[in-house]
Symmetry: C2
Subunit: 219 residues, 2 copies
């Protein structure tokens, strides 16, 4: 039975899984849910994922949700082109990088992305600037790591790159909105602020089938 | 060379790693840092972990931080008594449960634990009650899962149990503070509110060497 992926356009978490499937060369059936039609809250979908969030993966009879869990499942089920490391040390560093993204980058990113995308709480300037400061620090750390190696951990693309990339893309998109100008975040142009991250983004954009993973409504 | 664990009393993240080491039967050298003396911000420690947080694990020359990353490293390096599943499906469900804890339980828990432990923002009643509502929902889900099996995923203790347990203990400790009474959280007594979680807590407390992992300053 085919792998089925339930996803929504613009979800960085769904994007992670699409990139994982492409990097591992796994065919899958795309099940695009329309957030605007509340398809992620339909009874049929809630039976698969009671949280009503994307992504959810169905592989035969097995259902799993939460993006990192799907990635860990896929890598164990289909170990070719592993994304969680070839040694225990790589595994540790990959998960360390993922956890740093989840604990520091993602919550701070959320405090900027939500106001800029939905126009809500844009007047909470102090909170937004504080989040931006955190993000500049995190981006600097990532940029320094990418000065030393092509990928965040090891000699090939891993779950560390795949999990962070959509969060970076989401932040860049938010930072390019008109409403972002007055904040002077200093994220863009990326090639100027964080040149190693800019080259890493280009490397990921050059992956086979990358275009097929790009959020359709962002075009 | 011995495994060295840098930890601090009361850190749920450090507690996870101590439980992991005990469950896997791995000997280690305990390096207890005193938060009150800022030992986690000393130059020597920052050289190991630039974030100045606990835990950090050193295994020979290899250093890794972020609790879940340490757990993933240890399980791959020392695969006996695996805590990340015997099949791809178990791996997926274990990481799903961990991610749910990180994404929903932990941030909500933080909004209750911090005010009650440090007396700050205790007047943000709406925010605290909203977090409590989220936590009651998460605890209910966990309780229902534990009605069906002894452990959160599969037939033996896994990283899903180990990662959640210290967060639950921290919450219960906060909920037992005098200042918590007026909130009527409904978390304790646990045996009444969430009986299956209460039995699961007892099961973990009965693990060999559990007492050695218990935060010393909580006694």
């Amino acid at each position: 039975m085919a792998i089925e992926l339930y996803w929504g356009s613009g979800s960085p978490f769904a994007w992670r899984v699409m990139l994982t499937l492409e990097v591992k060369g796994l065919a899958y059936e795309s099940k695009l849910l329309e957030f605007s039609k509340q398809q992620h809250k339909s009874p049929a979908y809630l039976a698969l994922n009671p949280r009503g969030k994307v992504p959810t993966l169905k592989d035969g009879d097995f259902v799993v949700y939460e993006s990192l869990a799907i990635m860990a499942y896929l890598d164990r089920k289909y170990p070719e082109s592993t994304i969680f490391g070839r040694t225990a040390e790589e595994t540790g560093l990959i998960w360390r990088t993922i956890c740093e993204g989840e604990s520091y980058f993602q919550p701070a990113g959320d405090k900027i992305v939500r106001p800029l995308f939905f126009g809500k709480d844009l007047d909470q300037v102090d909170q937004i600037q504080q989040a931006a400061e955190t993000l500049r620090g995190e981006l600097k750390t990532v940029d320094e790591r990418l000065a030393r190696s092509r990928w965040l951990v090891g000699e090939q693309i891993s779950a560390a790159d795949i999990s962070l990339f959509p969060l970076v893309q989401l932040l860049l998109r938010a930072a390019s909105k008109d409403a972002a100008r007055s904040f002077n975040f200093g994220f863009v142009p990326l090639a100027q602020s964080f040149p190693n991250i800019a080259r890493w983004v280009e490397r990921i954009e050059a992956l086979p089938n990358y275009q097929g993973t790009y959020p359709p409504h962002w075009r």
